[in-house]
């Protein structure tokens, strides 16, 4: 792997970086207000809608968008497609930040954060709770991701000292590298198991909501649909991010690799759509899709986005052109995002005239988290060997 990746180098204090930093700082101030004055001071959350975009986006959709590392690991290490190696590191990096920020954002959302560690104390554990499985699994996976990505840090500290601050370059990590090379396979395997568990469980979370969740989303297939969707989003983000980074950093697009990779998407989206509609039809829930309400409309938007992704990526000819591939990846990411928003917010109706729309504060905090993720990504790819060497493309 060491010959494939190279730091981009160059100035990191660019205009986009500064704008992103501005959003991050602003979100930081709002988070401060939330800690001093309470959640209600910045969020529109209520007893009817206890979960808003901080859960639906930051955690549920955010980790699905961060499934690139997981999906690539299935392909490269489980299905033994070594040729995709150059795409693994950038995918892992995005996954590492996506998951780390998702886990961190939970501490903005939970009300009694100072007792958050109770999640990990066995005497408090409720093994019947889907939330416990999700929390323990995500926390573990965050650590696994840092372990999986660590070789990029080690390599940077050994071979690309010119990009790094002095205190980092003095540290000899060759011993650690040896240890890592021996045990990494276990963490890669563990890193495939954990998302399989929690990405499906993120869907299972809503089972307990019973009739409060519209029959268009409430189904025993929630875990399976969430899992397939997350894996597909994983490939979509790898394609999206790779094309975006190539254009943004003015590098050649990794066409041959991405073309091949995008071939996995049509069957996945197809299987997902078959299960999705068969389930809704067999349960006799389709009637709910024809009501004059936002949830019905959003059901069609969600599935139209899946179909759009499929239409763009299914023809083999489209998989040789960056534009349709990029659009398909984009539609798939938005489709998965809308599916999660629908299952957690839009399709959720506690009754009694409760309503929810995210507040300015909630939106800005979420944007701040996304901004921080992107700016951290920008910094790391310039300083450490993450992106494939240009000539590789």
């Amino acid at each position: 792997m060491s010959e494939e990746s190279k730091p981009l180098g160059g100035e990191f204090l660019t205009t986009p970086f500064k704008v992103l930093a501005g959003f991050t700082v602003f979100a930081g101030l709002l988070v401060l207000i939330r800690y001093v004055l309470g959640i209600g001071a910045v969020a529109n959350l209520s007893d009817g809608y206890p979960w808003g975009i901080w859960i639906a986006y930051d955690v549920v959709a955010g980790t699905a968008i961060a499934c690139g590392g997981y999906s690539m690991a299935i392909l490269v290490y489980v299905l033994n497609k070594g040729e995709y190696h150059p795409l693994v590191r950038p995918a892992l990096l995005a996954s590492m930040f996506g998951y780390t920020l998702a886990a961190a954002s939970i501490f903005v959302d939970i009300g009694r954060y100072w007792q958050g560690y109770n999640m990990f104390l066995p005497w408090y554990a409720n093994v019947n709770s889907v939330m416990l499985e999700v929390a323990v699994c995500i926390a573990t996976y965050v650590m696994v991701l840092w372990i999986e990505f660590a070789p990029a840090f080690f390599e940077g500290m050994q071979k690309h000292k010119q990009h790094l601050p002095a205190f980092l370059t003095k540290w000899d990590v060759s011993g650690l590298q040896k240890i890592w090379s021996k045990v990494l396979f276990f963490f890669i395997a563990f890193g495939v198991l954990l998302p399989t568990m929690h990405q499906s469980s993120l869907g299972s979370l809503m089972l307990i909501a019973g009739k409060k969740l519209s029959p268009l989303w409430q189904t025993g297939f929630l875990p399976l649909l969430f899992l397939i969707s997350a894996i597909t989003m994983g490939y979509a983000i790898v394609i999206f991010e790779s094309i975006f980074a190539s254009v943004g950093f003015k590098r050649p697009i990794e066409m041959p690799l991405l073309s091949k990779l995008s071939g996995v998407m049509p069957p996945l989206i197809g299987i997902y759509l078959v299960i999705r509609f068969a389930d809704v039809l067999i349960r006799g829930a389709i009637g709910a899709a024809f009501k004059l309400e936002v949830a019905s409309l959003m059901f069609w938007v969600e599935n139209a986005l899946h179909v759009a992704a499929l239409v763009y990526i299914a023809p083999a000819a489209n998989r040789t052109k960056p534009r349709p591939m990029f659009l398909a990846a984009f539609f798939m990411l938005v489709a998965g995002l809308v599916y999660r928003f629908n299952a957690f917010i839009v399709g959720f109706n506690p009754g009694d005239n409760w309503s929810y729309f995210p507040s300015f504060g909630e939106i800005m905090i979420t944007l701040g988290i996304i901004s921080f993720e992107i700016l951290a990504y920008l910094y790391i790819v310039k300083k450490f060997p993450v992106l494939p060497k240009a000539e590789h493309a």
Partner: protein, 318 residues
């Protein structure tokens, strides 16, 4: 296509199998049943006069602050629903002119809302840290703020929207009726039942409350009957002319059953009580989750397989 679909599907299926098994009810968790000593309330909407003595007694004995629905007048306790300062509330159903009591059309009726102390509570199943527990001795659903992390999953799960959260506080907690468990300890009964002047709310063992409720359903409208006040088997009683009941005890089976039971003359859904299946959501959720994670066997087997395959493949790559 370069990537072999079949191989890919195999991998998707490996993970999918785990989740897909959710569709099979073979390992279904048994439904939970009421224990013999379960305690609860019977609220009879036809008896209630809407005086709200229970609301005020609940506030007083649970030391809860006032809750105002109008910001201009914060001294006036007039919550519109249960909230983080209000465990118990009397709500009004009104249709058209509202003239006749306990009539669906052009009538009105009262409904008392508080924690239902479900037989198989969604909140207890949902809570990751066991902050909500069903007390084995009497089935009361109690809250431990020392355990609670404030994730609000209990709120997502509760079909009655009962757990309430202090969104306005820096250091918030969940608030809900605990059937005056602090009073039960002192051999007293829940304040709402003790201070109900009409006997609309009575306290007792759920088995006895169920028998009382079913007895009332047999009463002839217009006949005069003796209704217990405060608690079943106590000294206080009231004589009353029976008005028509709907032939259902809400809470007998709804949502897997509850320890708070309702009688009414107006359809329960009109009174704001959800129409629930007899199977609790907790049972459904736990059945699916436990099918996937039974003894952690599936995840361990899958991990074993993954470790083997990844080890082999990473060697190949070197």
């Amino acid at each position: 296509m370069e990537i072999k679909r079949r191989e890919f599907l195999k991998a998707a299926a490996a993970g999918g199998l785990l989740a897909a098994s959710s569709a099979h009810p073979a390992l279904a968790r048994d439904p939970k049943v009421r224990t013999k000593d379960a305690l609860g309330l019977l609220y009879d909407s036809t008896v209630c006069t809407g005086c709200k003595a229970c609301v005020s007694a609940c506030k007083e004995y649970n030391k809860m602050p006032q809750s105002s629905s109008s910001p201009e007048d914060p001294l006036w306790d007039n919550a519109l629903d249960t909230d983080s300062r209000t465990y118990n509330i009397i709500k009004l159903y009104k249709d058209g002119t509202g003239a006749a009591k306990d009539r669906e059309k052009d009538g009105h009726a009262y409904i008392k809302r508080q924690c239902m102390h479900c037989v198989d509570p969604a909140c207890v199943s949902a809570c990751p840290v066991s902050a909500l527990k069903k007390r084995p001795s009497d089935g009361v659903v109690i809250y431990d703020k020392g355990a609670c992390i404030g994730c609000r999953y209990c709120q997502v799960g509760c079909p009655f929207n009962i757990p309430k959260f202090e969104f306005e506080k820096t250091f918030p907690q969940v608030q809900k009726c605990q059937l005056c468990s602090h009073r039960l300890e002192k051999n007293e009964i829940p304040a709402c039942a003790e201070f109900c002047p009409t006997g609309a709310t009575v306290f007792g063992k759920v088995d006895d409350l169920m028998a009382e409720a079913k007895k009332r359903l047999q009463y002839k409208p217009g006949s005069s009957q003796v209704y217990p006040v405060e608690r079943l088997g106590g000294k206080a009683v009231a004589e009353r002319v029976v008005t028509p009941y709907l032939p259902k005890v809400y809470g007998e089976k709804d949502g897997g059953g509850t320890q708070v039971l309702y009688l009414a003359g107006v359809p329960f859904e009109k009174l704001g009580l959800p129409e629930l299946e007899e199977r609790s959501d907790a049972q459904r959720s736990e059945t699916i989750q436990h099918t996937i994670y039974k003894g952690m066997i599936a995840p361990i087997v899958l991990l074993g397989g993954l470790v083997y395959v990844v080890h082999k493949n990473t060697k190949d790559h070197k």
